[in-house]
C-alpha cells in the first residue's frame, strides 16, 4: 500500500520541478498506477492547478496539457476528426469512463508502459513531448529515454494531412490489448505502430516503400508480411510471441485495408 507523507499543490512548474528533484517525491498524475504501488512517497506533487488539463487546437498543432484526462481527449471533437476516430477507438477500451476521467495523458506517456494504448496512438501521429527542462523532443525518442526527474508539460501533435486508424485485439473488451496497432497514412508514407507486443510500442515505417501510392489488397499483404518480420514480439499471460506475431500481420493488413477504404 502506498504511503504519502506530505502533499503539495504546486503553484508553478518551477516549484513542482524543484520538489521533484528529490527522489522520494513524486508527481501525481491520475494516480491510477501510483496508488497500486507500495511506494513510500515523501511529498506528492500535485500539478493539477497549473492549467495543464486542456487541449488547445490551432492550425498547426494540438497542444495537449499533461493533466488532460483520457476522457477529454476521447471526446475532443477536433482531435476525433483529425484522427478519423482512431483516438476514440484507442481510448474507449480503457476500463471505463470513470477511469478515463482520472487517467491523464501525461501519466500514461510518462509511465512508458508496454500495454499503453495511449502511446501506441500518439506514436503513429507526429507527436512531441514538451518537458519542463528538456524542451520539445519527439515522442519516439522520449519513450526510450531513462526515467528522470523532469516534468512532462505538454503533448504536442503536429498536424499533417493524414488518414488514421486504430485496431486492437483483447480477450475482453475492457482488458489490456493482446496487441494494439495504430497507423497513419501520410504524404511521406505509412507510419504503423505496434503496442502491447508486450514491450513498449514501436514505430514501423515503410522502409521498403511497399505502399507506394494507393493501398491495394496486394501491397497491404506485403506490408503485413514486412511488419511481421520486423516487429519483435514477446510472451506474457495474455499471449505468446508467436500469436502476437501472427496478430501483427493480421492487424497490419486490416488497418491498411481500412485506411484504403478496402475493408469488406
Amino acid at each position: 500500500m502506498i504511503t504519502i507523507k506530505d502533499y503539495k499543490k504546486a503553484s508553478s512548474l518551477e516549484e513542482a520541478y524543484e520538489l521533484n528533484q528529490k527522489r522520494t517525491n513524486r508527481i501525481i498524475g491520475g494516480m491510477l498506477w501510483t496508488k497500486m504501488s507500495s511506494a513510500n512517497i515523501n511529498t506528492a506533487i500535485d500539478i493539477s492547478g497549473l492549467g495543464l488539463d486542456k487541449i488547445e487546437e490551432n492550425d498547426n498543432e494540438f497542444i495537449i496539457g499533461a493533466m488532460t484526462t483520457l476522457r477529454d481527449i476521447e471526446t475532443h471533437k477536433g482531435f476525433d476528426l483529425y484522427t478519423d476516430g482512431a483516438a476514440k477507438e484507442a481510448l474507449h477500451h480503457i476500463v471505463g469512463v470513470q477511469f478515463r476521467n482520472l487517467a491523464t495523458v501525461g501519466g500514461s506517456v510518462f509511465g512508458r508502459y508496454g500495454f499503453s494504448d495511449v502511446i501506441t496512438l500518439f506514436l503513429s501521429l507526429d507527436t512531441y513531448v514538451q518537458l519542463y527542462k528538456g524542451g520539445i523532443i519527439p515522442l519516439a525518442q522520449f519513450i526510450n529515454m531513462p526515467y528522470d526527474r523532469d516534468i512532462l508539460v505538454n503533448i504536442i501533435v503536429k498536424k499533417e494531412k493524414i488518414r488514421c486508424a486504430y485496431k486492437s485485439v483483447r480477450i475482453t473488451k475492457t482488458d489490456f490489448p493482446v496487441l494494439a496497432c495504430s497507423a497513419a497514412l501520410t504524404k511521406s508514407g505509412v507510419r504503423m505502430v505496434f503496442g502491447a507486443r508486450p514491450g513498449k510500442a514501436v514505430l514501423l515505417t515503410d522502409a521498403e516503400n511497399i505502399i507506394d501510392g494507393e493501398i491495394t489488397e496486394e501491397n497491404a499483404e506485403q506490408f503485413a508480411a514486412f511488419a511481421k518480420e520486423n516487429i519483435k514480439t514477446g510472451s506474457n499471460m495474455r499471449g505468446s510471441a508467436e500469436y502476437r506475431s501472427h496478430l501483427v500481420s493480421v492487424l497490419a493488413k486490416r488497418i491498411l485495408m481500412d485506411m484504403g477504404g478496402l475493408e469488406k
Partner: protein, 760 residues
C-alpha cells in the same frame, strides 16, 4: 390462480439497495472496531521455523499479533466448509498452522486500531521459513511422495474414501450395468479428457466479518455469509469454545455464488475478539479474494461415451479428477455432481460408471461455486455429446431429442430417483425455435475472416440435498394483523426474502406488504442449513408454505374461541375468521391477533421444518450464437438463448435475472476467466485487472424463456434455479467455436490465441 406467487413483485429490500443505504457488513461495523489483517505465506509449502513479532508489536495502535504459537497445534482440526454435520469435508485446518500449504496461507493475524498501523506491523513481522517442494500438478498429486497433510491429527468424519497419507481427499466409484460390455458393443465411441479451472465467484462484495462481545459475554458475529448456522459451528470448532458462546447473523450480502458457503473470513476476527474482548472486523481486499478464498474445483473429467450409429447413447463412463487444493472444503461433495448431474440427462443409456478422485495440492483451497461440480461434468458430457452429433452428422438438438430423460423416468445415475417433473423436451423445442436454430446451425461465413455459428448444451442440477438439507421457517401474527416471517436462509441478492414472503402471503391471503422478513440469525431464526445447493425456494419455500398453513389453523382456532364455536365451524379468508354456517358471525384478523395478546394460550406463531427425500432437478437448454474472427481468434457472443424448467417461477423477474446472470458467468468461464500459476504456485490472476470477468461490452443479448413443469414436492410447483443456469454456456460455446473453426477444445477458457493458432 395464484395472487402473489408467480408474480414479478419488487424485492423487499430493493429501494434500500438502489438508494445506497448502509446495509452491508462493513457499513454496519462501528468505526472503533479493530482492523484485522493477515500475514500470508509467500511459499506454497513451508514450515515456519521462526516468527518474530517483537518489533511489529511495538507499532503504535497495534492491539495484538497472533502466530502459530498462539494456537494449539495438537488441537482438533476443523473444516471451513458450510455443510451439515458431520461434514464430508475433512477436518484439516487450524486457525494458524505452523505448516503453510499455499501461497496466501495464514501465517499471522494482526489487529490494530488503524489500517495504517496494521499494514506497518505486517511489514515488520520477521518470518524464517523452511521451504518445501510443493505439489502443484494435480495429475501427479495422488500417492506423491510429498504430502500436503502429513499431520496425525488430520481427520475425515465421513466415509468418503479419504486418505491424507495418499494426498487423497475423497474417492468414490459407482455404476449400473456392465459398462465395459455396453461400450464394447457401441458403434461409436467418443473419448476425451475435459479440463476446467479454479474459477472465482467474484461476487462484488469481498469477504467481510465484524465481531463483538455482547451483554452476555458471548461472541457476536455479523458476517457476509450464506450459512449462519454452519458458521456458528465452524467458529466454535476453530476457537475451541462452546457453540452456545457464538451467535452469527448476516446483514445484506453483496453476492455469494457459493463463495460464502465457506467460512473464509469469519474465524480471524472471531479469534481476535474472543481473545481481546474488543470489537474487530476484517474486510478482504480483492487480491485476498483472488488468492486465498474458495474458488471452483479445478477438474479433469475423462468421458468415454458410446452410442449406436443411429445416435442412441448406450453408456457413459466418467472419471473425474478434482483438485481441492490445500484444504478439503467441499472436495468430497463437489466431485459427485460432475457425474450425478450430467449422466442422468441421457435416459436411454443402459449402463454407466462414475469414478472419482479428489486430491490435495499446494494451491489455494477450492470450495463451492454455483454449479458445484455439475458445471465441470456437464461441460465434459455435453461436449462429448456434441462431438457425437457431429461425428454422426446429426443435428445436436435432434440427437438430444432421441436420448433425453422424460418425466416419470427413473434416473439410475441420480441415486435411482424418479424424474418427478421435467420439460426438457419442451426446452429443446423452445431453444430450437427462439434461436432460429435450423437456419443458423452450424455456421455462416460473414466474409473478412468472420464466421457466425451456433452451438448448444443441456444442463440439470438439484433442488437441495435430499434427506440432508433442512429448511426452516417461523411465522408469527403480529399486532394489527401483519406477519413476521423469520428464516435462517440467506438472501444474498437472490431475493429469497421476497420469494419466501410471496409464498407466505399467498397462503395467508394477505397483501405482500403485510409480511415482514427477518433473518438470518442463529439466536432468532429457526434452524436452516443455509442458502446453498439450490435449496432455498424449494426447501425453505416448502417450510414457509406449511408453516403458513399451520398458522392459518391457529388463527382459526383462536377465532373460533372468540366466536364461541369449534374450529370445524370456521374458516379464514385472510381478513377474518368467519362461521361457515351462514349466520355472518366473524372476527377480524386484527381482533384475533389483539385477543392473542391478552389472557391467551393459543400461540399465533408457528415454526415449521422441512426436508425432502427427493432433489428434483431443474433443467435447462442453452444455445450460443457467436461470431468468431478466425484470424484474430476473438469470439463475440451475439445472442444466448435459453429455456429453463425451474418448475413454477415464484417470482418470474428474479428467476429471469438469475438465469441471465448465471449464463454470463458461464460465458466468462468459457472465454476469459483463466487461472494460471507460476512455477512456485503463485496465481497470476490475482485482481480484476488480470482475472477478467465479463463487462457489459462482452455480451450481446441474453434471451430467456421459461418452460415450467410442476413439481409436486415444491412450493406451488417450484424447483430451483440458482445454479443450473451457469451450466450450459460452456459446452454451447465450445461447440459453436468448433462449428466456426472446425476444431474442438477440451480446456477452458478458450482464448483467442488458441482459436487463431489452432492447427486444424
Amino acid at each position: 390462480m395464484t395472487k402473489i406467487v408467480n408474480k414479478p413483485v419488487r424485492k423487499k429490500d430493493s429501494m434500500q439497495l438502489v438508494t445506497g443505504q448502509p446495509v452491508y457488513t462493513d457499513d454496519l461495523a462501528p468505526s472503533d472496531a479493530l482492523i484485522v489483517k493477515l500475514l500470508r505465506s509467500p511459499h506454497a509449502s513451508a514450515w515456519v521455523k521462526n516468527i518474530n513479532t517483537t518489533i511489529a508489536k511495538k507499532v503504535p495502535d497495534i492491539e495484538a499479533i497472533y502466530t502459530w504459537e498462539d494456537v494449539d497445534q495438537n488441537s482438533r482440526r476443523f473444516t471451513c466448509a458450510g455443510q451439515t454435520y458431520p461434514e464430508p469435508s475433512p477436518y484439516d485446518r487450524l486457525i494458524i498452522d505452523r505448516r503453510v500449504r499455499f501461497v496466501g496461507d495464514t501465517v499471522a493475524i494482526v489487529a490494530g486500531k488503524t489500517e495504517k498501523a496494521v499494514d506497518k506491523a505486517l511489514s515488520l513481522i520477521k518470518v524464517e521459513y523452511e521451504v518445501y517442494e510443493p505439489v502443484l500438478d494435480f495429475r501427479s498429486a495422488l500417492d506423491n511422495e510429498t504430502l500436503v497433510h502429513p499431520e496425525e491429527n488430520w481427520e475425515s468424519l465421513c466415509p468418503v474414501g479419504a486418505d491424507n497419507k495418499r494426498n487423497l481427499c475423497a474417492h468414490d466409484e459407482c455404476g449400473e450395468g456392465d459398462i465395459d460390455k455396453v461400450l464394447s458393443e457401441c458403434d461409436v465411441i467418443i473419448e476425451h479428457t475435459y479440463h476446467t479451472k479454479a474459477c472465482q465467484q467474484s461476487m462484488m462484495e469481498p469477504f467481510a466479518t465484524y465481531c463483538s462481545i455482547d451483554a452476555y459475554g458471548r461472541l457476536n458475529v455479523l458476517s457476509s455469509t450464506q450459512i449462519v448456522f454452519h458458521c456458528r459451528r465452524i467458529i466454535a470448532n476453530a476457537l475451541g469454545i462452546s457453540k452456545t458462546q457464538v451467535r452469527v447473523s448476516k446483514p445484506r450480502i453483496g453476492g455469494g455464488f457459493g463463495a460464502k458457503q465457506t467460512s473464509v473470513s469469519e474465524i480471524y476476527p472471531a479469534f481476535v475478539t474472543w481473545k481481546t474482548k474488543k470489537p474487530s472486523k476484517i474486510v478482504f481486499s480483492r487480491r485476498e479474494c483472488m488468492i486465498a478464498s474458495t474458488p471452483r474445483h479445478e477438474m479433469e473429467v475423462h468421458v468415454k461415451l458410446g452410442a449406436t450409429k443411429e445416435g442412441i447413447i448406450k453408456g457413459i463412463d466418467l472419471y473425474t479428477l478434482s483438485n481441492t487444493g490445500a484444504y478439503g472444503e467441499h472436495g468430497p461433495t463437489t466431485v459427485g455432481l460432475s457425474g450425478h448431474k450430467s449422466i442422468p440427462l441421457y435416459g436411454k443409456a443402459e449402463a454407466f460408471r462414475f469414478t472419482s478422485d479428489v486430491v490435495y495440492t499446494n494451491i489455494m483451497s477450492a470450495g463451492a461455486y454455483r454449479g458445484y461440480g455439475a458445471t465441470q461434468g456437464l461441460f465434459a458430457v455435453e461436449s462429448a455429446v456434441n462431438e457425437l452429433a457431429s461425428k454422426l452428422n446429426m443435428d445436436p438438438i435432434t440427437l438430444r431429442e432421441m436420448n433425453i430423460i422424460h418425466e416419470g423416468d427413473i434416473m439410475p445415475a441420480y441415486y435411482g430417483q424418479e424424474n418427478t417433473s421435467c420439460t426438457l423436451d419442451r426446452c429443446l423445442a423452445k431453444v430450437r425455435e427462439m434461436s432460429d436454430w435450423d437456419n443458423k446451425y452450424p455456421a455462416r461465413d460473414m466474409g473478412n475472416g468472420k464466421i457466425r455459428s451456433i452451438g448448444m448444451g443441456m444442463a440439470m442440477q438439484g433442488s437441495a440435498i435430499s434427506n440432508c438439507d433442512v429448511g426452516g421457517a417461523t411465522i408469527k401474527a403480529d399486532e394489527t394483523g401483519f406477519y413476521t416471517l423469520i428464516i435462517g436462509a440467506a438472501d444474498m441478492g437472490t431475493g429469497c426474502d421476497t420469494i419466501l414472503a410471496q409464498i407466505a402471503a399467498e397462503v395467508l391471503e394477505c397483501p405482500f406488504e403485510n409480511i415482514t422478513v427477518h433473518g438470518a440469525d442463529t439466536d432468532a431464526s429457526p434452524y436452516d442449513s443455509g442458502s446453498y445447493a439450490s435449496s432455498t425456494t424449494y426447501l425453505t419455500g416448502k417450510a414457509v408454505e406449511t408453516c403458513a398453513l399451520k398458522l392459518r389453523a391457529q388463527i382459526c382456532k383462536l377465532g373460533a374461541k372468540l366466536l364461541g364455536c369449534t374450529t370445524t365451524e370456521v374458516e379464514f379468508n385472510g381478513k377474518e375468521v368467519y362461521k361457515t354456517n351462514g349466520d355472518n358471525a366473524s372476527v377480524s384478523l386484527m381482533d384475533v391477533v389483539t385477543a392473542s395478546m391478552c389472557g391467551n394460550r393459543i400461540a399465533l406463531e408457528v415454526t415449521e421444518t422441512h426436508t425432502s427425500p427427493l432433489s428434483p432437478p431443474p433443467f435447462m437448454v442453452g444455445a450460443a450464437e457467436i461470431e468468431v474472427d478466425t484470424l484474430t481468434g476473438e469470439v463475440e457472443v451475439l445472442n444466448y438463448y435459453a429455456a429453463v424448467d425451474c418448475g413454477t417461477p415464484i417470482n418470474p423477474n428474479l428467476a429471469r435475472v438469475q438465469a441471465e446472470g448465471g449464463i454470463l458467468q458461464g460465458i466468462g468461464m468459457a472465454l476469459s476467466e483463466n487461472i494460471t500459476y507460476n512455477e512456485k504456485g503463485k496465481v497470476y490472476e490475482n485482481s480484476f485487472m488480470q482475472y477478467k470477468i465479463p463487462s457489459r461490452m462482452d455480451i450481446g443479448k441474453i434471451h430467456i424463456a421459461f418452460e415450467a413443469s410442476h413439481e409436486k414436492a415444491g412450493p406451488f410447483g417450484a424447483k430451483s434455479i440458482g445454479e443450473v443456469v451457469i451450466n450450459t454456456p460452456l459446452s454451447a460455446i465450445a461447440d459453436a467455436i468448433h462449428n466456426a473453426v472446425g476444431k474442438r477444445f477440451y480446456e477452458l477458457p478458450i482464448t483467442p490465441e488458441q482459436i487463431a493458432m489452432a492447427k486444424k
